[in-house]
């Protein structure tokens, strides 16, 4: 018999903190955004009729069409990851917290490097929006109550690199 997770001694599920709701909403936003990108690509290229764009390679490098296809495939992959993380978050599983922290960590690192190594004009409003969303997510994920509910922080935690 599977053990009940995240339940109090009385057997009731723990209440989801507001911070988790905010994180869930932001992840849903990410999912919708990626869904929009993937759908838009599929509609524009009529993928279901034309199939994968050929040729993929030209002069030893990816063609523009192949690059767009790869980007869309990558976004689809992240869409699926985001859906899995969302389910984990709703069920308050530890792995989803870890996955999301790693995700926003990578996203923030890329965003900050992007900000410092490209001209400001190339850093668009949507980049700032992603950065802001990531930032909110990090602070929400690192709330003591959120960490406790996901089983990340115990009182005796102290070791780190």
């Amino acid at each position: 018999m599977a053990k009940p997770k995240n339940k109090t001694r009385k057997g009731h599920r723990e209440k989801r903190p507001i911070a988790v709701t905010i994180i869930v909403l932001l992840v849903i936003g990410e999912i919708l955004l990626r869904l929009y990108w993937v759908t838009q690509y599929a509609l524009e290229t009529k993928l279901w009729l034309n199939g994968i764009p050929w040729p993929l390679w030209e002069a030893g490098w990816l063609t523009d069409a192949a690059m767009e296809f790869a980007t869309a495939a990558f976004r689809l992959f992240w869409l699926l990851v985001a859906i899995a993380v969302l389910i984990g978050l709703l069920r308050m599983r530890r792995w989803s917290w870890v996955a999301l922290v790693v995700w926003v960590g990578i996203s923030l690192s890329v965003g900050i490097l992007h900000y410092f190594y490209r001209s400001i004009s190339e850093f668009t409003q949507s980049d700032y929006a992603v950065m802001a969303a990531d930032m909110v997510m990090v602070f929400a994920l690192n709330q003591l109550e959120v960490q406790r509910i996901f089983g990340v922080r115990r009182e005796d935690v102290g070791r780190s690199a």
Binding site: V101, I112, Y128, M131, F139, N142, A161
Partner: protein, 611 residues
């Protein structure tokens, strides 16, 4: 003592001589396998030394050359200008050849004695990446600070074992002090070298080392009973230095002798065998300490993150107790006091003055003095040194407690009588005041009476508070009195604020890999930075950040701290992102805050208005 198990219920007649007492309770010292230096005779040591003077202008001058010095000569008064340092040298400056010979001799000696030390999971793997970075800076600081060289440690080891071969005696220097109803047996141990850094990866090395252990006795019905054992240790002071005789968990006693575990190389004393994590704070300038304090408060209180201090370097003090044991039958006691010339007359250092401004590498002074020549607390006030000055001996405790109880009861009775009297007076004045109201011609008297009432009211309030506090105090005293009368002495560790505990074996997921990584990671990082500067100088800052984060993450995986480390890294990145966003959108941020505050206040006021 009634709570003590039978094997600990030892005593001596009050008529016993100081020597008999000292011999009866002399400690058993348990060393760690690999230890090279043991308590020795200062006379032999001094005969092997030369006496030097370091003057204010930085000059070093031999006062008495090697072979001409003895304890009598050492104690001779030597007037000198302020800030002059007198010091002994056990090992003279070594040439390159002599240093090489010392290292070779050290290897041969250890092989002959089969005296090897294995650190196990080393301190570097225990500490993590940031403390290791700080540790590297600490190590580099020795380039600027004075230090005792590893060759000096090797030569000292050879010289000590040569002495030991000729005269295999283990010596303690002891004295008996009678203070506040306590009889303190103080045992001093002299080692000719502290090799903690060079042999056991510790904080410092220095020539000579003085350590002490005390046993505190009290008299009852013509018998002397041991009650406390205390010893000096890193990072601890006062009450934390002592353990009660009946504390079977914290204090080991063998045949009436306390068992003390000695830190390898450092010679610090521990009650329980094991490995202790000593921590050393890197000395930071005031402004930087202030910044670190503010950052720590922001990190822990505002962001709710677990506290960390990357400027604290962990060092392990190995007090495993798995090496030689020196106890009754092995000791050659020597008795000292203020009248022993070399104890009171020689205020200099007992080994090399390494010119270390932090003092860790300079030799200590004798048992009676600090390095600067000021009197040593453990000598002139041994009770205060171990926090026992405020504790009456068990023989006096009952009497004192009964006296305190009587005093508190008398006062309580007095309060019970005074308060109703004062209260009646207060009420009478109150009625009088009411009678004066609405009578303009009595305004002056009214004001004076009001003043009097205010003062009396405050006095009654104070007395009531005192009665309440006194009642609680009486309850506590009565409880304690009952306990003492029943022969129960209470929690033996109630006085301890910080208990020295051996560290648990690190459960690193990949212990060997973590150990290897700990040894090579800093060098690898420096190579990676060098590669970055050479191959991609345009991306220096980004590259540095990426390298640093990658090393941290890899380290965290090996140490089983991936989740907490990644969480901390993301928080730092989020703070950076917040700064970028504020820099670009500060107007909107301020606007947002103002609008949100306005809406909140509006909501609160409207809610109040509509009831």
């Amino acid at each position: 003592m009634s709570d003590a198990p039978p094997e600990r219920q030892v005593s001596m007649p009050a008529t016993a001589s100081d020597e008999e007492l000292l011999r009866r309770f002399e400690p058993i010292l348990c060393f760690t396998r690999g230890e090279q230096f043991f308590p020795m005779d200062v006379d032999t040591y001094v005969r092997e030394c030369s006496l030097w003077e370091h003057t204010l202008d930085g000059e070093e001058r031999v006062l008495v050359p090697q072979g001409e010095l003895d304890l009598e000569e050492l104690a001779r008064p030597r007037p000198a200008p302020f800030r002059t340092v007198h010091y002994l040298r056990f090992i003279e400056t070594l040439s390159l050849t002599e240093a090489a010979q010392a290292f070779a001799g050290q290897v041969a000696l250890r092989h002959r004695l089969q005296n090897y030390f294995h650190s196990g999971l080393g301190r570097l793997a225990r500490g993590g990446f940031l403390p290791r970075l700080a540790d590297a800076i600490f190590s580099l600081s020795f380039l600027l600070r004075g230090e005792v060289s590893a060759a000096t440690a090797a030569a000292a080891e050879l010289a000590y074992h040569r002495i030991l071969d000729d005269d295999k005696r283990y010596v303690y220097y002891a004295r008996v002090i009678r203070q506040n109803g306590w009889i303190i047996l103080q045992y001093w141990f002299f080692y000719c070298h502290n090799s903690w850094r060079s042999s056991f990866h510790g904080v410092n090395d220095h020539e000579s080392d003085w350590e002490n252990v005390s046993v505190c006795l009290y008299e009852k019905n013509g018998q002397l009973y041991p009650e406390w054992v205390a010893c000096a240790s890193h990072d601890f002071k006062g009450d934390d230095l002592r353990r009660r005789w009946d504390d079977t968990e914290e204090l080991q006693v063998a045949d009436g002798h306390p068992v003390i575990n000695i830190g390898a190389g450092s010679h610090a004393a521990y009650f329980r065998s094991g490995e202790y994590q000593a921590e050393v704070n890197i000395p930071l300038p005031d402004w930087l300490s202030g910044v670190v304090r503010v950052w720590n408060r922001f990190w822990t209180e505002t962001l709710g993150q677990p506290a960390t201090n990357p400027f604290r370097i962990p060092f392990v003090d190995y007090a495993r107790g798995d090496g030689p044991r020196i106890g009754p039958g092995d000791w050659s006691p020597e008795f000292i006091s203020e009248s022993t010339p070399w104890v009171s007359q020689y205020r200099g250092l007992w080994g090399l003055y390494a010119r270390d401004p932090v003092s860790g590498e300079n030799a200590p002074a004798g048992p009676m003095y600090n390095r600067d020549g000021s009197p040593r607390g453990a000598w002139y006030d041994p009770l205060s040194f171990i926090g026992l000055d405020k504790v009456p001996s068990p023989a006096l405790a009952l009497e004192l407690l009964e006296s305190e109880c009587t005093e508190a009861t008398t006062r309580q009775d007095e309060l019970e009588r005074i308060i109703p009297e004062k209260n009646s007076k207060l009420q009478a004045l109150g009625i009088k005041l009411q009678g004066m109201e609405d009578q303009p011609h009595l305004a002056k008297q009214h004001a004076a009476l009001e003043k009097e009432i205010t003062a009396l009211s405050a006095e009654v309030k104070g007395l009531r508070r005192e009665r309440s506090e006194n009642s609680a105090l009486l309850q506590g005293l009565a409880y304690r009195l009952g306990q003492l009368r029943a022969g129960r002495t209470g929690d033996p560790r109630a006085h301890i604020r910080h208990l020295a505990k051996p560290v648990q074996t690190i459960e690193a997921r990949f212990a060997n890999a973590a150990e290897t990584w700990a040894a090579i990671s800093l060098s690898l990082m420096l190579f990676a930075i060098a590669g970055l500067i050479f191959f991609a100088p345009n991306y220096l800052w980004a590259g540095l950040a990426v390298i640093f984060i990658l090393f941290l993450v890899l380290e965290s995986i090996l140490r089983g701290a991936f989740v907490s480390t990644v969480a901390r890294i993301t928080v730092v990145l989020a703070i950076l992102a917040a700064s970028i966003l504020f820099f670009h959108f500060w107007k909107y941020v301020i606007l947002g805050v103002l609008v949100a505050t306005g809406i909140y206040l509006l909501y609160e006021r409207l809610r109040e208005l509509t009831g």
